[in-house]
């Protein structure tokens, strides 16, 4: 297929899936089966697109003079599309297992918005200009809201309000401001290799404009705008997986990266030093979130703060303003995606099997649920950055980038953070395998196959990624 | 001095207009009684009518009816025509205003602003 057709396919498959979900709302197996099937097709399409050379472009329509909805897959976008496309069928399969296992209600509504969220993510990944990106960014926010509040009780509503409030407010107040600011100054919103702002803007304003984006993209969960992420933990676990690994936060950091690379331009950022402050904000975010994570005993809350911390890496990769670090950041999107989705899949599997969310109740669980816990351990190691797992590469490249630009202190930050990761993620693994159960684990067994299959596959993905790394390194040097 | 007196006295019509305008405007704003508000509104509008009418008057000019004599100086009829329209509008407004007042009296039993507000507040509380 040509690149244009692949773009159409990737954008329309999720929509088709959501339409079919509504159509087959009374035949659960058909409804769920088609979603997985379409997901697999889209993964294939995303892979094919990833291998095609860059350069295709597709303009869907013109919103207003000079403002188009257009899609231009470039390496970074293709990588993100691949991540989202691959994880979607796995997540859907897992969702089906979880929803049935945990006896949640309203499957149809859930699957519908799940697919719409994937559509929005694909739109973000392939967007050819800031406006398109913004449109799909907002669509992603609104389509995930019903997922976050899925339970519909007071706690879920409250979390939903925080979720929507922070994400929409930040995007309307700061991000849109930044977008229109860029439009007013550069006269265009297209993503161009090397950036569009060089020479169009007084270097004095670069840090301020970058701040509009860094904080406007609330989905990147840069502290102090991270509150929505732990709040959204009330949602069912597949949503957390979607939020953390596939769609929402990844879309956030992807946007940050894309703006840094294709709007500001790495060289322009380096010249003006406009992103220097962001390095330190990201460092703070990385360390502070890690420390908060250690204080949490709720498994999902701990994972949530771990995500906040890991997102800091990616933002930092952009802020370091070297091609090498940016490549590392891009790689980290994929590596962290594979790792974190595994962790959440495992958390959900534990919940379905054991109905517990607190880490202290999980002593000795590893011996009854060996597959889940092995996958968990693999993913945790990947996130910590231990070879031969994917996380090792991205962390290595970030450190290299920091050295390139002389940020020695950042090196220390990254090391301390790895250590903290080891502490708070390692604790779970150790409790699972070595601690004695505090209560009887009678009747607890592995989660159903529909859940085990995806989580072992994503765990293996982390492993595979380490060896196939050549394929996923994007060269921003040009 | 003479110039100033001339300016002051020569523009007496404007002073009259302004005084009337302020009296009327005060009535509209300060009075709680709706009939008095309408009266104020009428005075206010009348001041504008006078502004227009006095502007159309040309010194030594006669009524603008063609006499056939080319040397005759006429007053400008246009402001008068305009103000005729404005008067009609004013009368209509007054009529609508009074109609509303009657309906308000029928349903609230008062035409005082404060009393109506008090009644509505009571209603809100009981509701």
């Amino acid at each position: 297929m040509s690149a244009e057709n692949l773009i159409y396919t990737l954008l329309s498959l999720p929509l088709l899936a959501s339409a079919l979900v509504l159509l087959f709302r009374n035949q659960p197996n058909l409804r769920d089966g088609q979603a997985v099937l379409l997901g697999i097709i889209s993964a294939g399409a995303a892979f094919q697109l990833y291998l095609l050379p860059t350069g295709a472009s597709l303009t869907l329509l013109e919103l207003a003079p000079g403002l188009t909805l257009s899609f231009t897959p470039e390496p970074l976008g293709k990588l993100f599309a691949l991540v989202a496309g691959t994880l979607w069928p796995l997540a859907t399969l897992y969702t089906i297992g979880y929803m049935r296992g945990a006896k949640e209600k309203n499957h149809t509504r859930f699957l519908f918005f799940y697919a719409v969220a994937i559509h929005a993510t694909m739109g973000i990944a392939l967007s050819g200009n800031l406006l398109t990106l913004f449109v799909f960014y907002e669509m992603l926010t609104f389509s995930t809201y019903p997922l976050v509040t899925h339970k519909g009780d007071e706690a879920a509503l409250k979390a939903g309000r925080v979720y929507l409030g922070i994400l929409v407010a930040s995007s309307i107040v700061f991000l849109l401001f930044g977008v229109i600011g860029v439009w007013a100054m550069a006269g265009t919103l297209d993503f161009v290799s090397g950036g569009i702002l060089a020479g169009k803007i007084d270097p004095f304003y670069v840090p301020a404009l970058l701040a509009l984006f860094a904080f406007g993209i609330g989905k990147a969960a840069l502290m102090p705008l991270h509150r929505w992420l732990p709040a959204a933990m009330v949602a069912p676990t597949p949503v957390s997986a979607l939020l953390h690994a596939v769609a929402v936060v990844k879309a956030g950091v992807f946007t940050v990266l894309k703006v840094g690379v294709y709007i500001f331009g790495i060289d322009f950022l380096k010249e003006t030093g406009g992103s220097e402050w962001l390095v330190w904000v990201a460092s703070f975010s990385i360390l502070a979130a890690s420390i908060v994570a250690m204080t949490k005993t709720n498994l999902k809350a701990r994972l949530a703060y771990s995500t906040v911390s890991q997102l800091g890496y990616i933002v930092m990769g952009m802020a370091l303003a070297t091609p090498f670090a940016a490549s590392g950041a891009a790689l980290h999107i994929a590596a962290h995606g594979a790792g974190k989705i595994t962790l959440f899949f495992c958390a959900g599997a534990i919940y379905v099997a054991h109905k517990r969310t607190d880490i202290q109740d999980m002593n000795g669980l590893g011996r009854t649920m060996p597959i889940t816990y092995t996958a968990f351990a693999l993913a945790a190691l990947s996130i910590i950055g231990v070879p031969p797992l994917a996380g090792a590469w991205s962390k290595f490249m970030l450190m290299g980038g920091a050295l390139d630009n002389g940020y020695l202190l950042v090196l220390g930050v990254l090391m301390v953070s790895s250590l903290l990761n080891l502490v708070y993620l390692g604790e779970i693994v150790i409790r699972g395998f070595f601690a004695n159960p505090t209560r009887k684990l009678k009747g607890v067994q592995e989660a159903p196959l529909t859940m085990l299959l995806p989580l072992s596959m994503t765990a293996l993905l982390s492993l595979a990624l380490f060896f196939a790394i050549d394929l996923f390194i994007i060269d921003f040097g040009g | 001095m003479i110039v100033m007196t001339d300016q002051l006295l020569g523009q007496w019509n404007y002073y009259l207009v302004i005084i009337l305008m302020m009296i009327g405007f005060y009535g509209v704003i300060a009075r709680g009684n709706m009939v008095k508000k309408i009266v104020g509104l009428n005075i206010f509008q009348t001041s504008v009518f006078m502004l227009y009418i006095s502007m159309g008057k040309v010194a030594e000019g006669s009524a603008p009816i063609l006499t056939g004599d080319p040397t005759t100086v006429y007053s400008n009829p246009l402001p008068h025509v305009l103000i005729l329209t404005a008067i009609v509008v004013g009368v209509s407004t007054t009529a609508v205003g009074y109609a509303l007042i009657i309906r308000i009296q029928e349903s609230f039993g008062t035409i005082e602003d404060d009393d109506i507000i008090a009644q509505l507040d009571d209603e809100e509380e009981t509701a």
Binding site: A64, E138, F142, A169, I172, L176 | L51, V89, L120
Partner: protein, 497 residues
């Protein structure tokens, strides 16, 4: 016949009005109104395309009397853009009125109701079309007087409509009188009332204090009429207690026409170069606009009556239009025109949908719609989309207008103001989300009346929703038309699109 379209636009509803008053049967009166507004809508669309095709101003001379002496009707890019808004909303609101009026107004008054309805529409059309400043006043009063009567007709169900209408009358008349005072001063200075002629002659006297005073009076009067903060207190009760159909019609059109007249007078007659205009009016309008945006939004957040809530939101949205005007640039004016157009669409959708609920339940409050998402999903979805458009979510019309509004501010380097505008529009999320949560996420309380919806009830609102989305997804022609309208008043500068 084509050359008569400018006058037919106004004349048709004007002459249909006495017929409607004479027709006793309510369906006949409605039918006549429906046909008339439908024709008016077609005419305005024809005029729009005709004007776009010609590209220049079309002038219709009443009684073949040429401009300075006679009264002319002028169709330029600006009026051609605003006319379809009024007639379109008038048409859709009439479509909805059949049910709303039957539910809310005594059957004996239907003839008179539709007569006043048509007169309001005719008056608004007249204000937009006419090229004579005094004629604007006459049409202003025609539309206002019938609007007072329409608002008062809400008294059948809600007696608070009466004081609301009375206050509306008092303040409306004061505003109109201020306008006439300003006009009188202008006439004294220039000896003409024709807008084009005024614009030509004013530069000769622009240094005088009288000209400045005239501008102040005219602007003040129109601020009152367009409910610019802090002169907006008449608007909320008038909209909230009027019959639902009237609210839908007026919320989308009445204040917009005054915005248009303000633009026409301030930019078309005085011109941006008029000494003191940018400082006095521009700065004032900007400040009041942003203040109104905040006050209206905050008031809407705490409001529980839906009609009042959206009336408060109208104050905020008018603030945005004022900001566009206050930017004193072509982009700003275009943004004001865009928002005028788009806001009419979304408020029309919202008030039509809410009106249908109010007509059934007696009142539309947060309690009424609690859990209504399951009972009347189609109507509530219309409210959802209307609300999203108010926030300015992409792919809705509200996004487009906000885009250009901010761009206009940034072009003038009003960074702080742009930031404030963003904050106030983000606050809109709070009141919209309050409604969405109540409707979709909370259960319907026990014993609450069952709400129903039929196609004829939600179709009018949905026509507006579709338009809101349509102009959000494909806004290019609208944006071009808005810029053409803006360039009527501020000539195009190279490089601006």
């Amino acid at each position: 016949m084509m050359q008569h379209l400018p006058i037919l636009q106004v004349l048709l509803p004007l002459l249909a009005s006495p017929f409607a008053a004479l027709l006793r049967g309510r369906d006949v009166a409605w039918g006549l109104t429906f046909v008339t507004t439908g024709l008016a809508f077609l005419i305005s669309i024809a005029l729009f395309f005709q004007q776009r095709a010609i590209g220049e101003t079309m002038i219709y001379e009443l009684g073949n009397w040429a401009a300075p002496l006679g009264i002319v009707y002028v169709i330029d890019a600006a009026s051609a853009l605003v006319l379809p808004v009024i007639s379109g909303i008038g048409f859709i609101a009439t479509l909805a009125a059949r049910q709303l009026v039957a539910a809310e107004i005594d059957a004996r008054d239907h003839g008179l109701f539709y007569a006043a309805w048509l007169l309001t529409i005719a008056g608004m059309m007249g204000q937009v079309t006419t090229g004579d400043a005094f004629n604007i006043f006459v049409f202003l009063e025609i539309s206002s007087l019938s609007a007072y009567a329409l608002v008062a007709m809400g008294a059948g169900r809600d007696r608070r409509a009466l004081p609301a209408a009375f206050n509306y009358l008092i303040l409306g008349t004061v505003g109109a009188t201020f306008y006439v005072i300003g006009l009188g001063l202008l006439y004294m200075l220039t000896g003409t009332l024709n807008l084009a002629d005024l614009a030509e002659r004013l530069p000769h006297v622009e240094e005088t204090r009288a000209a400045f005073t005239a501008m102040a009076f005219i602007a003040l009067g129109l601020f009152l009429k367009m409910a610019l903060f802090p002169l907006h207190f008449w608007l909320v009760p008038a909209y909230a207690h009027a019959p639902s159909a009237v609210t839908a019609l007026m919320a989308s059109t009445a204040t917009k026409v005054s915005v248009y007249v303000l633009i026409r007078l301030i930019f078309g007659v005085f011109g941006v170069e008029f000494p003191g205009l940018a400082d006095a009016v521009g700065l004032l309008v900007l400040t009041l606009g942003i203040a109104g945006a905040f006050v209206g939004t905050l008031a809407a957040i705490v409001e529980t009556d839906l009609k009042k809530l959206f009336a408060q939101s109208s104050i905020a949205q008018l603030g945005y239009m004022a900001i566009g005007i206050g930017a004193m640039s072509a982009t700003g004016l275009a943004a004001a025109f865009l928002h005028l157009f788009n806001h009419a669409l979304m408020k029309g959708a919202l008030f039509l949908a809410i009106g249908m609920i109010a007509a059934q339940a007696g009142r539309a409050t947060m309690g009424t719609i609690q859990g209504a998402g399951k009972q009347i999903p189609i109507t509530m979805t219309a409210i959802l989309f209307g609300g999203l458009a108010l926030i300015g979510v992409p792919l809705t019309a509200g996004f487009i207008s906000k885009l250009y509004l901010i761009r206009a501010l940034l072009e003038q380097n009003f960074w702080l103001l742009a930031g404030l505008t963003f904050i106030s529009s983000a606050l809109a999320l709070a009141y919209v989300w309050k409604i969405i949560e109540a409707a979709w996420l909370q259960p319907r309380p026990n014993g609450a009346p069952v709400l129903r919806e039929t196609a004829s009830q939600y179709i009018p609102a949905w026509i507006m929703v579709v338009a809101t989305l349509g102009f959000g997804i494909y806004a290019t022609p609208l944006v071009e038309a808005a810029f053409a309208a803006a360039h009527v008043f501020i000539p195009s500068v190279a490089g601006a699109n």
